[in-house]
């Protein structure tokens, strides 16, 4: 898509009025073209595979949007109503000690992974140490009560699965936090992620709230859609059924389920129902699926790349992937 609008519109509008193409005109153009060629577009998509992909794409976007909205509202509220000093007082001053606190605090955000990305970024902007914010980012989607309850409902025959999921995910989040304390570099995180919105002192707090939420929503919305596109493509064109048959072997099963968790990008509130349906597999690979899914998946990688920059996401996601598999395997061997 063209970005002429962006470049032109950043110039000061001065001098005599002349015809300028800004993003606004581009948008109108696209909409008019889409309306004109609507029937052509529908025909083009009238292939079973593409139809399935488009349905899955819309489904993922529709399902995730409410949680993203919840996330940006919380993020906006933190920006407007929680001064940085209050956050500092709440958390232990030593980062290594604050990491487990942040992990357990994840219990309080009843959403899936889309909600936690904007909140984690806002925490960083408010001066919370990145390791602490990242632990929260990984823990919140996996250990909150809604996810645990839905896991318990799905695995009603094996209640230990709920405990194992909780421990495995919390462990993953804390290990990643501590790894960041030890090895993380600030320059991996894009500058714009940490730049605070202009000085709002003097402005109405509700206006700050609305503007921060709107800004985060516009920022993250596109990346969520991108993640949805990837997940829909994988879901439709990767032979999932064939991969399940590979899962009979325990080592292969663990790796296959971890990989599936990444490409299917399921909401953490629903993945337990999918995991329980892989009834041919032993419990351990299914636990890996539940621990990896909320921590790394294509939708989440896209959101992270948007919020923190590419060079962050391409280091953080693979590291989380490995750590999550290890934590899940250790937890599973001990508890299941």
């Amino acid at each position: 898509m063209t970005i002429t609008g962006e470049i032109r519109s950043s110039k000061r509008r001065s001098g005599p009025p002349r015809l300028k193409i800004t993003s606004l005109e581009v948008l109108c153009g696209i909409l008019v073209l889409a309306l004109l060629f609507q029937s052509r577009l529908v025909d083009l998509l009238d292939v079973p595979k593409l139809r399935t992909a488009s349905t899955v794409f819309v489904a993922i976007c529709v399902q995730a949007m409410p949680f993203l909205v919840l996330g940006v509202l919380i993020s906006g509220a933190i920006a407007a109503f929680v001064p940085a000093s209050a956050l500092r007082r709440l958390l232990p001053s030593k980062t290594a000690l604050a990491v487990p606190v942040a992990g357990v605090a994840g219990v309080a955000l009843p959403g899936c992974e889309c909600a936690s990305v904007p909140v984690a970024r806002r925490l960083m902007q408010q001066g919370v140490a990145p390791a602490v914010a990242l632990t929260f980012l990984l823990a919140a989607p996996a250990v909150n009560p809604i996810v645990l309850v839905s896991t318990a409902v799905a695995f009603n025959d094996t209640p230990m699965m709920v405990v194992a999921r909780f421990v495995g995910s919390l462990l993953t989040a804390m290990v990643m936090g501590w790894l960041w304390v030890r090895f993380g570099k600030m320059e991996w995180i894009a500058e714009r992620a940490l730049a605070r919105l202009g000085d709002h002192s003097g402005q109405n707090k509700w206006a700050v709230f609305a503007e921060s939420a709107r800004h985060d929503l516009v920022d993250a919305g596109g990346f969520l859609v991108l993640g949805g596109l990837f997940a829909a493509a994988f879901k439709t064109f990767v032979p999932v059924a064939w991969m399940q048959t590979l899962g009979g072997q325990i080592v292969l099963g663990v790796l296959v389920m971890a990989f599936l968790a990444v490409i299917l990008a399921l909401c953490s509130e629903a993945d337990a129902f999918v995991a329980v349906a892989f009834s041919a597999l032993p419990l351990l690979p299914r636990l890996v699926f539940l621990v990896v899914g909320p921590a790394v998946d294509v939708k989440l990688i896209a959101l992270q790349a948007g919020a923190f920059g590419k060079s962050f996401a391409f280091r953080f996601a693979p590291a989380t992937f490995v750590v999550a598999i290890l934590c899940a395997v250790v937890t599973g061997v001990v508890l299941l």
Binding site: S23, V58, Q63, N156, D157, R192, A210, D219, C267, V274
Partner: protein, 247 residues
């Protein structure tokens, strides 16, 4: 991207969410419990955008009045710049909008059934296997029918006449009635299949049908991936239900 364009995109996206909510089309994509969340999300999106638009207009007016007073209106411009650096990715928000308004993708169907694992994925669930209701014809969900044939060894279904609702699919020389079950959204859909025997309806694939008949006792086994057989006695073609998925 300009702030104005961002706001319009937000209104469109929120509008798309509200449209599928109120038209009932959301049932093609997510389970019905999400409806209040969808309406809230759509309303909030539109609200945030409208609030920003109103603020911008007020600010522009104030800046214009400031100009008359001899100021150069620099404040307003700076405000605008600090927020308009959002990335190109925001354009992608147009895709779900166009998908919903122009294409309106259908509910998942036969394509998913034929490409999914060739098995009925059921779970043993004690509370589901209660007594069957009495009556001549018992309407059963596909989930319950398949679960009972796979897990209930006492044969409560044998010789009972049941009614199933689903769509037809074919593989090799067999005809199946199938339905998808979702727990959150269509991305986690899992298929439920029943092989048909007896008076198999000669209708095209993907046609929704109501079938009355009886289970072939002990027809679901591990060898055939827990797909039971069903002797069709009568069938009627029906329109796609408003709620295409079971949950």
């Amino acid at each position: 991207m300009r702030r104005e364009t961002q706001n319009i995109l937000l209104v469109l996206l929120g509008g798309a969410l509200l449209k599928i909510s109120f038209s009932g089309l959301y049932l093609r994509y997510v389970q019905k419990g999400l409806l209040p969340l969808l309406i809230a999300a759509g309303t909030i999106m539109i609200g945030l955008a409208v609030f920003a638009i109103v603020q911008d207009i007020r600010r522009a007016k104030a800046a214009a009045e400031g100009d008359h007073d001899g100021h150069d209106g620099h404040d307003g411009d700076e405000q605008q710049h600090s927020h308009s650096h959002s990335s190109r990715s925001t354009w992608l928000m147009l895709l779900p909008v166009m998908a919903v308004f122009l294409i309106s993708p259908p509910a998942l169907g036969g394509d998913v059934v034929s490409s999914a694992a060739d098995t009925n994925q059921t779970q043993r669930s004690r509370n589901l296997l209660g007594e069957l209701p009495s009556g001549d014809v018992i309407p059963l969900s596909m989930t319950e029918f398949v679960t009972r044939t796979a897990w209930d060894e006492s044969g409560t279904l044998d010789n009972r006449r049941v009614k199933l609702t689903g769509f037809l699919t074919r593989a090799d020389s067999d005809t199946f009635v199938a339905r998808l079950a979702i727990s959150c959204c269509a991305a986690d859909a899992r298929p439920l299949k029943v092989r048909l025997t007896g008076d198999v309806p000669a209708l095209p694939n993907e046609q929704w049908v109501e079938l009355t008949g009886k289970v072939v006792p002990k027809s679901a086994s591990e060898k055939n991936s827990w797909v039971p057989s069903f002797t069709v006695e009568s069938s009627t073609s029906v329109a796609e239900p408003v709620e295409p998925y079971e949950s």
